[in-house]
Subunit: 379 residues, 2 copies
């Protein structure tokens, strides 16, 4: 209305137009880090391709980088890393420190490995209140104690004002052979061939039942509703939490073939990764997917698919069908698993390619991996 | 000259004056992350204090976080992490990727552990050219191959323009029992009592000879000279390099009691950490400290002490004196160790507190740990 336009208005967002300082080639976009299909192609082309030439003879990881799994494994040691750039740093139900430690515990656990120890690396913008840094560290300590896994090493860097938006946190962690995993694999093998000792994205087999440990989308929508300018309020809390206790309970029953924490890209991304890497189709029933009313209504309002929203305290299981009911019961006995449900099954590729949702009204909808992330910087 | 002043001009640098958005308590400064004495106090007060309440019963790391050593150790597995915020990303003799992988290899090696595998986590600003990202990844691959240690897992996050200055890299790594360490410790124990199986900052004993593997300050001064506005040019190259081969050669001789890579805070910080944690005094001779002419003259011009400048491809050794000459010979046989020298010795606290430099003209100067970092963002 006669106001001076700022920048190059695209849609409803103001985008800064920045002069091209160097080069004329393609540049990275938010979608390249969003956990979806664009990110997958980018990682393959820019990271894996450029490391190929440097492969080291005679050093063969049990689970290599190229598997793009939740963790890598070398000589029986599981190693995982994640950087957290969540915004804001403090949100309903958690903070960046608690989130980072929880996420790393979960990435180790879903490999079927017992988390042993953690590292934490803080990068902080000059001028951040020391009290806020202390709160983040307290959040880390809380999650570490909850999981029973100590933080044994760390690093702190401070950069000048403007070089970073407040604070980023990296956590890495190590895991090893878990006694509950050995029993689990024995039971899986009693029902069918199972190669390897870790539960990777390639371990799902036709017939497996798919279980989720609770309601989906809580973390992403809680963060979104807390951010300014989204015009809706909610009492939703982030679900971020270390899940090693719940995972151990499921493994104790036995018959778990694969697990994954459905973070960036949500359930849609998790199931598509399984489908691709395990060579199976996956069919889920819409009316069995646990969703909170607040998530459903927020997603309707914003035109988002709850299956693509990131979670932090949830685990998706692929289990041998004979064990599914017992595993479900064990998960539900955990407070964090009370809403767990069997939501579908894996099928042979000859019957189904990719991931399909059977809708409440009886239709079938293809569930594609999201191209980008509908909610950026939620982890 | 009649120009409008921008911001609050302090000295020759323009400092942005930013309104206080939250809180009134103390805030973090660059010195808190500079590897010196201010950083030490900050880590103890803000990190260790806040994690104390969350100590986990029955989980006792072999080398815990509180040791503030180059790595932590739990159940025989060595874990280390570092975030790299070096500016610029590409500099004479290296790049942020090659630097990060080398630094992590070195942090594991100086514990006396064999590096087994690495993780890498990239945080990238939206708009960064994909070609530059590829170059960073190639640098990582080069260092990984040079060290013979594979990168087995990773993470990539992209944040919106302005939320980050181009790119930060985190690398974490794991190590384990090294056959060469067992022989080394046997020889150390033949000369004196030695507790524990790892080479920590607390392992230096009176009488130990102090060896540096080469010239000091090359990395920091190379970076500084390459930055705009410093008004001097130099042909200096960064010394960043994986040092596990050189470390293995020294351990094979036997008699190495402690090692450290003198990064942030330089040799001055390394020796003060040893002095404090091992409870010894350390005396070094100025005329034996290897320095390149280019580093000496740059430091004179800028009023900096070369002992406080960060290095990346150097190792400081504390060794039993009977083995010192043989260890020195072994180090010098490595291309990266050709300028190695014995520069001093450890003394009982009763004779000397702290760290002292015997100057060329026969004086004695106390070497304090630097308060902050004379050259920020060099790693």
């Amino acid at each position: 209305m006669g106001q001076k336009r700022k920048g190059n208005v695209v849609g409803s967002k103001v985008v800064k137009v920045v002069a091209d300082p160097v080069g004329t080639g393609p540049r990275i976009t938010m979608a390249h880090g969003a956990g979806g299909s664009i990110m997958g192609s980018f990682i393959k082309a820019t990271v894996l391709e450029n490391l190929k030439a440097c492969a080291i003879q005679g050093k063969r990881p049990e689970v290599p980088l190229e598997a793009l799994d939740d963790a890598g494994v070398m000589d029986g040691i599981v190693l995982t890393t994640d950087s957290y750039v969540v915004k804001p740093l403090f949100f309903p139900g958690g903070d960046i420190g608690h989130l980072a430690v929880s996420g790393t515990i979960n990435d180790i656990s879903v490999m079927g490995a017992e988390p042993v120890a953690l590292s934490t690396a803080l990068i902080i913008e000059e001028g951040m209140p020391l009290d806020d840094i202390a709160r983040v560290v307290q959040g880390m300590g809380r999650a570490s104690k909850q999981a029973g896994v100590p933080i044994i090493t760390g690093d702190t860097k401070v950069v000048e004002r403007g070089a970073l938006d407040q604070m980023f946190v990296n956590t890495a962690g190590i895991g090893r052979d878990w006694d509950v995993l050995r029993k689990d694999i024995e039971i899986v093998r009693a029902h069918r061939p199972h190669e390897g000792r870790w539960l990777t994205d390639a371990s799902v087999r036709p017939g497996d039942a798919i279980i989720v440990s609770g309601t989906l989308g809580d973390h992403g929508i809680a963060l979104l509703s807390f951010r300014e300018g989204y015009g809706f309020e909610s009492t939703l809390q982030s679900d971020a939490r270390p899940m090693n206790d719940l995972v151990a309970a499921a493994l104790k029953v036995g018959g778990v073939a694969a697990m994954k924490d459905p973070t960036r890209g949500g359930l849609a991304n998790t199931l598509n990764e399984w489908s691709e890497k395990s060579g199976v189709g996956i069919e889920i029933d819409e009316d069995t997917v646990p969703l909170k009313e607040a998530v459903t209504s927020a997603c309707e309002m914003l035109g988002m698919d709850p299956l693509t929203i990131g979670n932090e305290g949830k685990v998706v299981f692929s289990v041998v069908p004979e064990q599914a009911e017992d595993i479900l019961k064990a998960i539900r006995r955990n407070e964090a698993g009370k809403d767990a449900a069997i939501i579908g099954k894996a099928l042979p590729r000859t019957e189904l390619k990719g991931v399909v949702l059977r809708t409440v009204v009886g239709g079938r909808r293809i569930v594609d991996p999201p191209a980008g992330d509908p909610v950026p910087r939620i982890c």
